[in-house]
Symmetry: C2
Subunit: 224 residues, 2 copies
């Protein structure tokens, strides 16, 4: 029932199966970009004192780079600031796949892994432009209405950049992939979709009563 | 706008703020367990040839252990089979937090990190019992209806176990946490909830027409 690494080839123990669903293919660039764009968050793996750590954080993509940021005081960003390698992974869970045996249960998902050594964006104007892009991608039109960033805040923010040069996508979609000998087994089999959606915005106590709620991130982020 | 590591203390640059929302507290054991139980998937960080890798996979918890599994042929499981350390992280994204400055934008989330060296479950009966527990937690009552596991399938499945001895939870919830000086800034501020739900089960083409659809994993997994 794991997220299995299966190939689309017809050799090996799967050769008796009818191939009904594409699995774990490496898709074209636009699919890879799309997964990065619609994922609400990522996990960044890094090595701290020889030990692996997977930290959740928010990311955004512009062209052939993925960016993330955080406090300059954070342990994760300190670890990456010394030019060490990371793996940034974005995963979308699309559904539970219920087969006729426990062994063939699976999950429909899309994921992207980005490997490399990030660089910190130090140029002030570039850093501000990137933070602006991040905000605008999520909430179009919001940037101009916000209280502007202070110098202290800009200095306290670390923005990291990773080129999408060593990146792969894995996708599993479609119905269960039971072998032919299992097809007549009398149990319900299929997919239970998992969907993400945005709820109704909840203003805080001091939000101006006549303030217009933000435009929801429909296109750029999943769940709209 | 990162998932910030903020403390609940009132020292430092945050001392002028009214503390309206608890943040990133390490919660009691039951909360930690709950996050592991309702997360649909995890990311396991491990070190392969000195480089970090974050791999998405499915997990389940029983008592004070978390388990995951996969093909014995997978690279991730080979890497952990040599008794190396891992970090298993489960993250639930609960909402976008829109503050009055870009700097104070954030995300509501719950995450758990589990550190340690996993062990492989080799005892046949224990392995079967664990796979059964995994299936039953997701789809109660389904195990007895499935085509039983074959010896070949049992041997091809690697189940890993990690005790919850070095584990921490981080939670951010509630409204934005703007400093007092920003409170009158005339922009909408609040939270856009992110929700996960299960869609209607989709039977595959060979599913018996009169087969009862599975009971949905309402209690054990988020989205029910």
């Amino acid at each position: 029932m794991a997220v299995k690494r299966q190939r689309g080839s017809s050799s090996g123990p799967e050769f008796t199966r009818v191939r009904r669903s594409p699995k774990l293919t490496v898709y074209e660039r636009s699919t890879l970009h799309h997964i990065l764009d619609v994922g609400t968050h990522c996990h960044v793996a890094h090595v701290i004192d020889g030990r692996p750590v997977a930290t959740p954080t928010l990311h955004w993509r512009i062209g052939e780079h993925v960016y993330w940021h955080g406090s300059v005081a954070s342990r994760m960003l300190k670890a990456t600031a010394v030019h060490s390698q990371v793996c940034l992974t974005v995963t979308l869970m699309d559904g539970w796949v219920l087969a006729r045996s426990a062994f063939n249960h699976s999950a429909n998902y899309r994921s992207v892994m980005c490997f490399g050594t990030p660089v910190e964006i130090v140029a002030r104007e570039e850093k501000i432009a990137l933070i602006r892009d991040f905000t605008e991608r999520l909430f179009p039109g919001r940037w101009e209405r916000l209280r502007p960033l202070s110098n202290k805040e800009i200095n306290a923010t670390c923005v990291l950049s990773l080129p999408l040069t060593a990146t792969s996508a894995k996708v599993r979609m479609g119905p269960p992939d039971d072998p032919v000998r299992d097809r007549a087994w009398p149990v319900w089999a299929g997919v239970i979709p998992i969907k993400e959606r945005l709820g109704r915005p909840v203003p805080d106590a001091l939000s101006p009563p006549n303030a217009r709620p933000p435009r929801l991130p429909t296109a750029a982020r999943r769940g709209g």
